[in-house]
């Protein structure tokens, strides 16, 4: 089974009215909240921070939906003979065209708004953090869900979700009040990145490489 074949099969499942409706609904809801909050706060610098939080909500919604979809897809892909690595590659292949443009769009939009209100270019940094956190958090969550070990599915998935959420909230909060915002980020972001990367590596790498991280190399021994 090739990665493009798997990506095509997944795409065929995603490009359907029901699925697109869920994605579109989540996106519109997040954007709506953002617009409303921005209008409510008026042309105030803090609105940028609110915008960041709203952007994080949008990303969270998209991430949650895609994770839910991916978890079902992962289970069925394994049953259909795909390896975790192929599933991950297909997921990346599909996620890149979706996640990167959305993050870029949010980044540009908020930067433009911020600039028009006095040029707060530094707020690009929290946004970039939101993007990185969403990416690693989402990746880690998908990997945790793909794990055959119930312990990982039960603990790592909600744990990573909360860490990701804390990271994006922290990133958003830096625009309101830098001290607590960066404090939250300092704790949540490294944990999110570490856990997300570890789960991704453990899931995606072949056993002989993953064995370096998780114990004995079964393939090496078997051969």
């Amino acid at each position: 089974m090739t990665v493009p074949a798997l990506a095509r099969a997944v795409l065929a499942r995603l490009v359907r009215p029901g699925t697109l409706g869920r994605w579109g609904g989540g996106l519109l809801l997040g954007l709506g909240i953002w617009v409303l909050l921005t209008l409510w706060w008026g042309q105030d610098v803090e609105a940028v921070g609110v915008g960041l939080v709203a952007a994080a909500l949008v990303m969270g919604l998209i991430g949650t939906v895609s994770v839910l979809l991916a978890s079902d897809v992962v289970r069925l892909a394994l049953a259909a003979g795909a390896t975790r690595r192929r599933v991950l590659e297909a997921w990346v292949l599909l996620a890149l065209p979706v996640v990167v443009p959305v993050v870029a769009l949010v980044l540009v939009a908020v930067s433009l708004v911020a600039r028009s209100w006095g040029g707060i270019a530094s707020d690009v940094v929290p946004l970039a953090l939101v993007a990185v956190t969403s990416w690693f958090g989402g990746l880690g969550i998908v990997c945790a869900l793909a794990s055959r070990e119930p312990r990982i599915r039960r603990t790592a998935t909600p744990g990573l979700f909360l860490l990701s959420l804390a990271s994006v909230v922290g990133a958003g909060a830096t625009a309101f009040d830098p001290v607590p915002g960066w404090a939250i980020l300092a704790v949540a972001l490294p944990l999110t990145l570490t856990l997300g990367a570890r789960l991704a590596l453990r899931t995606a790498l072949p056993p002989d490489v993953a064995g370096l991280l998780t114990g004995a190399s079964t393939r090496k021994v078997a051969r």
């Binding site: 049953a79 390896t83 079964t218 393939r219």
Partner: protein
């Protein structure tokens, strides 16, 4: 992807979940191109073994080799293995046809005509959501996937659960017909031994994570023997053989014994005027696993 039947071997295979040991030092060979029955009581380790073979899990220690390779996350062996788990792996909140299309898109050897004919034979409504199907109908979807995927290593783990008798027959017939036309390695994990044993060419009996008996199905069947006659004659012939059950009826004794391949006990028993009967696979399974269970209890 290879289409040749795939052999499976395990060496000292152990799988633990926390304090629970599901498999303990399992040494086993599953012959390529044969239908193997994997029998065992609840919790014997059948599903764990099959998940390890399918590459879904990693052993705690020891090795499992599929076509000579470690199957865990192995693109080659996983592409050649179709494990149909109890309840099937389906998109539960979507119509049956979505699941069939999914496997059609991902399984290289998928036979759409066979899938369609099985859908007709089982009378499955493919427009129905899987979650709205009965348990038996969900099992039928799993059976269709397992057969139509035509993987060189096809594994059915209690696939027939919930199916009614006519549908089980349909499944067995379809399996044998397709196996004859497209030989491959098939493993059937089952509780309904008397119903499926006619299909087995090889048999493996697991108990408490260990192999009790494994080998050619006819050889395994012939290893169980019931001797009935005068107690003294029966006892004289038994020697050090493994007695599974013993029943005393006054001066008459009835003993079920496990023999080794090539044992001359049947001939000697007949010469001694004893009644000699074979033991069906199901009876042998019951005797072996019941005895094993009571031994374990005694040891604890």
């Amino acid at each position: 992807m290879t289409t040749a039947p795939i052999a499976v071997a395990t060496h000292g295979l152990t799988k633990r979940y926390g304090a629970t040991t599901a498999l303990e030092g399992l040494d086993l060979e599953i012959r390529a191109g044969a239908i193997t029955g994997l029998l065992g009581r609840n919790g014997a380790g059948k599903s764990t073994l099959l998940q390890l073979v399918a590459g879904f899990e990693r052993p705690t220690s020891g090795h499992v080799l599929v076509d000579g390779e470690d199957p865990f996350d192995n693109a080659l062996t996983m592409a050649g293995t179709q494990l149909v788990r109890e309840g099937g792996d389906t998109f539960t909140s979507e119509p049956v046809k979505d699941t069939l299309e999914w496997y059609r898109d991902l399984r290289e050897n998928w036979d759409a005509d066979l899938a369609a004919s099985l859908v007709d034979a089982f009378q499955v409504d493919t427009s129905q959501k899987v979650e709205n199907l009965s348990r038996g109908q969900t099992s039928m979807v799993g059976a269709i996937v397992g057969l139509a995927a035509r993987a060189p290593l096809t594994i059915f783990d209690e696939t027939y659960i919930g199916m009614d008798a006519p549908n089980r027959e349909t499944f067995y017939e379809a399996l044998l017909t397709d196996y004859a036309a497209h030989p491959r390695t098939i493993v059937i994990s089952s509780h309904l031994i008397s119903e499926v044993e006619r299909m087995f060419e090889e048999v493996v009996i697991l108990d408490a994570g260990r192999v009790l008996v494994a080998g050619d199905a006819d050889d395994v069947r012939s290893r169980g023997l019931t001797l009935t006659g005068r107690a003294a004659d029966v006892e004289r012939l038994l020697g050090a053989r493994d007695v599974l059950t013993r029943r005393e009826l006054g001066p008459t004794s009835q003993v079920t014994v496990l023999t080794s391949p090539g044992d001359d006990l049947p001939a000697r028993a007949r010469d001694a005027g004893l009644e000699v009967d074979g033991v069906g696979l199901q009876d042998l399974f019951v005797h072996l696993t019941r005895r094993s269970g009571s031994t374990a209890k005694d040891e604890s």
